[in-house]
């Protein structure tokens, strides 16, 4: 029993980092552009499909394929920012609805291109690490490491570099930041592009673990939003912690309670935390 529990806590942590990277995208976008980009799940899907295509048809090794896949996703992000999100800054409802429209378009586009047949990318790293009686797939550990690293680096960049602090300043007081010389329009576009790149990166790593379908993004953006709220909107560390907690709660809940309710366990946890601490675990008290 103990083995089962520890094994699932570890797995929950790994799955949680994938939620966390999407949550990071959500939290950054909301903090700097004032909207929730629900379409981040679709950018994750784009990143996953690009990676799959480059590896299985372009013959590139996975590590090499990552860069063009993420760059391609970021380019798509840039495009949607210029065409769509640029016009919905700070308008939560409009941003939400534009994202929803974008989701339909992108998902249908993926259906047209690749059909609903699930795609499985060639395995990158096989085999599992055996710890005690627990098997941990090597690829999952690698994914965990990479995602955690990216999230922590983002946190570091935000708190230590000039650009990061400009972003924080902007989030606190847009006018003051503008007066201080922060190029706000560029900052906002930059954040949107970066968050889509994050989602794309998450998608590329997803492709090494699971099957791809055009509808895959839906689940992850929901979890990403939950995790972002749990950890506190505006806090990069919070998004990682939120993701981890969500992943672990789901995994542990599924063991002791019916797995049919798996999604509910995370939801209940989020609602409970919100009531206790409305700004999330790491969120700033407003």
């Amino acid at each position: 029993m103990m083995q089962l529990l520890i094994g699932q806590v570890l797995n929950g942590i790994i799955v949680g980092t994938l939620y966390g990277v999407i949550a990071l995208g959500v939290t950054l976008t909301f903090g700097i552009t004032g909207i929730v980009n629900f379409a981040l799940g679709e950018f994750m899907m784009i990143g996953a499909y690009f990676t799959w295509y480059l590896v299985d048809f372009g013959g590139l090794p996975f590590a090499v394929a990552l860069l063009p896949a993420v760059a391609g996703t970021a380019a798509c992000g840039f495009l949607t920012d210029q065409l769509l999100f640029r016009f919905t800054r700070n308008n939560l409802v409009n941003g939400l609805l534009v994202s929803i429209g974008l989701i339909s378009v992108v998902e249908a586009g993926a259906l047209l291109l690749w059909s609903a047949t699930p795609k499985e990318m060639s395995y990158v790293l096989t085999g599992s690490l055996q710890l005690g009686g627990i098997s941990l797939p090597r690829m999952k550990l690698l994914v965990f490491g990479l995602l955690a690293a990216v999230i922590l680096c983002t946190y570091a960049a935000l708190s230590r570099t000039w650009m990061g602090r400009a972003a924080y300043a902007f989030a606190q007081n847009p006018e003051a930041a503008m007066l201080m010389g922060v190029k706000t329009a560029r900052l906002q576009t930059g954040v949107v592009v970066y968050s889509t790149a994050l989602a794309g990166f998450g998608g590329s790593l997803y492709a090494s673990l699971y099957t791809l379908e055009p509808a895959m993004g839906g689940l992850y953006i929901l979890k990403g939003v939950e995790a972002a709220i749990l950890g506190g909107i505006g806090s990069p560390l919070g998004s990682l912690v939120g993701g981890l907690i969500l992943g672990v709660t789901e995994a542990v809940g599924s063991i002791y309670l019916p797995s049919a309710f798996r999604d509910a366990y995370g939801l209940i946890f989020v609602v409970a935390i919100l009531l206790y601490r409305p700004s999330g675990l790491f969120g700033a008290d407003k």
Binding site: M1, L4, G7, Q8, N11, G12, V15, A108, L111, S115, A116, T117, P118, E120, Y123, T126, S128, Q130, S135, P137, Y210, T211, E213, A215, M216, G218, L219, E250, A251, V252, S254, I255, P258, S259, A260, R262, D263
Partner: protein, 387 residues
Amino acid sequence: MTRMLVWICAIAFAVTPSFAQDVVKIGQIEAQTGPNAIYGYMSSQGMPIAVDQINKAGGFKVGDKTYKLELISPDTRGDPKEASIQLKKMLETDGVKFVFGPFLSNVFVTVEPYAKQFNGKFLMMGGATRIHEFLDTPDHEFLMRTWNWDAGPKGFGNLMVDRLIKDTGAKKVAILIQNDQGGKVIADIYLPMFKAKGVETQLEFFEPGTKDFSAVLAKLAAGKPDILFPGYTDAALYDIVRQATEGNYFRRFFLVRGSLGPGLKNKDQIDDYFVYVPKYFEQAEKTDPKIAKFVADYKAFYKRDFPYDQAPLCSSSCYDHVFMLVEAMKKAGSVTDVTKIRKELLAMTYDGLWKISYDEHGEEIINFDVVHMTKGGKIAVTSIEAR
């Protein structure tokens, strides 16, 4: 001037119906997009090819008239609301007498009360699992089911389970299945079947769309079963089989839906993989010229790769069924007498991609393959004639 226009219109209207007489309209209501697109996709792909081939060959002759086929195939998106509107348009506005589909049970159950009103005026031939319970009930002569039934003495489920027990001596089976209509029905069929044969079961449902199965696989494995029975679409199967072997939870699998693909992808980690496939296309392509031709035709028609994973679903309301319908019309000597046409369908055996016939209730019987893969990818295919 007006009078002339009126005459022209009258003549036009008088003339048009006779053009319509040389066309037989067939309808198809399937989910081509949406979360359940897997179930309607192959049928909506296979039917146009058949219609195109028949029309290109000059149509077909019934009595002394030559007819062409017109296919009306809207996308239901798996939404019962859409399907009911589309079916109404088909039956009332377009005058369709032959409707293929639906494969989705929730769509079927929604349109059934309306379709019943047209009993005797059209035929509905779909693969939905829940069609089974309506066959042979009063006022349902319009209904036929175009797929194999698991349970029952002629069912492939019984055969598979017996085979499993004989080949592996399994005493306990873990079942991991989607929490939706298809999954529920499969659980309802197989749980009593296993129990009757003295095999213990442990059942867990998962939300459709789940990607990470570690927790529930670990939970099931803790019960120390002999084999995992996962269901029931490739979308979930690839992930389940991969994670089950990676996490060292299961190495033996038993499937009544889905393909060999997940097994092959993980072949070095699997001890046994039993799967019921309506047809193992990758092998059949090499041995059966009809299959090879179909694959080639598909590629030429759509300029796309052949979906080997989806192709087994062409055993339901897909390619063969169009040709079968045309033959039934020829034998019945009519394109409108649905009672006669249904009689001919029930009486015939069609040898196309599959060998298709119908039992006395109107449920399809097809030959199928049981594939047993062992470690390293060694495959043994047993083709079974269900009769």
